[in-house]
Point group: C2
Chain length 318, copies 2
């Protein structure tokens, strides 16, 4: 099976249990939960029984150990997670507002997460990889950008594939080197997985249709459009089809897009038909929103199959 | 009244509500609480109605705003608290073990706290100061060490006083430049406030008596020995006396030593007799341990007087 490697932030998430605005008063919180978009992605790949690993860095603290233990237990190759002796493990505090929007307090850029670079462990993991999955959120500093660009080149040089989830807040595009880096990655991307407006974030064309045409023209082999509760679409040079989102009760949407991506990339690399891969991804995303905690929402194949069976029995359209 | 200025870390504290070991699983937490040893010290000074300020740096986030708002509301001059546009506000997670010891996860050294340096705001605050209080915990990086050494020289050059609380974990002494910095500060210290074994941390003499003699010989005018629940002692060239700790039910000892120091330094600078200053400090420390949250334990003069009155009425020895 083709081994998937990703690069980027591993953090703990601390969740406010009380809805409201921001973090300017003492609140009841719950955490630390293992988190970080690339970490959730790769954990979903591992829970599907697929070989995978992550290049990252955590601090020499309980928050780092919590994440490494969890990823290793789920089957992720953690050999290229550095433990920095000085910097703290990254963290993200999140609080839901009454309207469903979220407030954050991040410590990522100057946490251990930025302290990655070339090393024998990184080389060995990349040597063993057949697919590199790039998370746009990981491109938050020069060190991660440089490492990612180098890894993309190495994977492509050995005939591997690159999947790319922009996973980006628009203001991040103004970070130094970010837009150039994302354009360079897109040029070498085989599978592109944008959410919502991200489809036209890096194209000259405006609008979804024109952007899709431009992406395929520029060498992207397939695009998966993620629309959360409004479903998903698969597009390649030959066809386009949609997948409705499965009806579930939303508990915590954090990490659902990352679980969706992990499931799709896994099925796609295994050669499953795109229809089956997209249905698996939609099921993984649906299950993720039913569970509290960013990485708590990743699922095994058996859990996904049981979920789809229950829906079929209930007569829901899948 | 003589204005007190301190330098050092401002952080949020996140407390685990469940006793046990470390932070390797999701727990119920409570926070963010304003914290940081120098911040608690200066907040206690302000709550006694005494002019004071702090030189520090926080991130451009809710954790920084929470602290600045709290200190300003209590009367601290916050004009020399920088807001760094990039780095995160420092944080400390704390969990009590069953045996009363504490586990921590810190993000201080590479947080905004290290991003201090000379500036017009810092100059203006130091110009207005009559006393510099040095917290050893603040000497965690080159920037804070350099700023503190410079501030000590400036305060002494203008005839001001330096108070010094080593407030140190022993392993911190091995940080680059730490021991040299603490020795240099001690050479210019008027009032020294060590806890427990810290009295002989920087002396050549071993043992409390010999260390005290050496300190007074080297120019320290007065030493206040802090022993937590075992009371405190005042020592100068002429006399020595003890102050018992007031009997209270311990809820959260974090910050009690800093409140004790803030109260003692305030009374001492106001020219109160050492006996009265030490009793005030012991009362401030006792009140601090009865309240959950590191800075929640600081007290006004009215609260301290009411506490002492209640003890007197109850017939307790004070």
């Amino acid at each position: 099976m083709k081994k998937v490697v990703t690069i980027g932030e591993i953090v703990v998430e601390i969740m406010a249990m009380e809805r409201g605005i921001g973090f300017r008063e003492p609140l009841t919180l719950r955490g630390p939960f293992p988190s970080g978009a690339p970490a959730i992605f790769v954990d979903q790949v591992a829970r599907l029984g697929h070989p995978c690993g992550i290049i990252s860095c955590v601090g020499n603290d309980d928050f780092g150990r919590l994440n490494i233990e969890r990823l290793a237990a789920d089957g992720v190759d953690v050999s290229a997670i550095r433990i920095d002796p000085e910097a703290a493990t990254g963290s993200a505090f999140v609080r839901y507002r009454e309207d469903g929007n979220r407030d954050f307090v991040f410590n990522i850029k100057h946490s251990a997460n930025g302290r990655v670079g070339p090393s024998p462990d990184v080389n060995a993991l990349l040597e063993s990889a057949d697919c590199l999955h790039v998370m746009g959120s990981a491109l938050f500093c020069e060190a991660t950008i440089s490492l990612t660009l180098d890894a993309v080149d190495r994977i492509k040089a050995k005939g591997g594939t690159v999947s790319f989830d922009p996973n980006l807040r628009k203001e991040m595009l103004d970070l130094p080197g970010m837009r150039e880096a994302m354009r360079a990655i897109l040029e070498k991307t085989d599978l592109f997985l944008p959410s919502g407006d991200e489809v036209s974030l890096l194209t000259t064309a405006d609008g979804e249709e024109a952007a899709l045409a431009e992406l395929l023209e520029r060498g992207v082999r397939a695009v998966v459009l993620k629309r959360g509760a409004r479903g998903a679409s698969y597009v390649d040079a030959d066809r386009r089809f949609d997948q409705a989102a499965f009806p579930v009760e939303e508990v915590d949407p954090t990490g659902a897009g990352d679980s969706f991506g992990g499931a799709f990339v896994t099925a796609w690399l295994r050669g499953e038909p795109p229809e089956a891969a997209l249905r698996l991804a939609a099921a993984a995303g649906a299950l993720a929103v039913t569970r509290k905690g960013p990485m708590e929402g990743t699922s095994t194949r058996a859990e996904i199959d049981a979920f789809l069976d229950r829906l079929t029995e209930a007569g829901a359209p899948i």
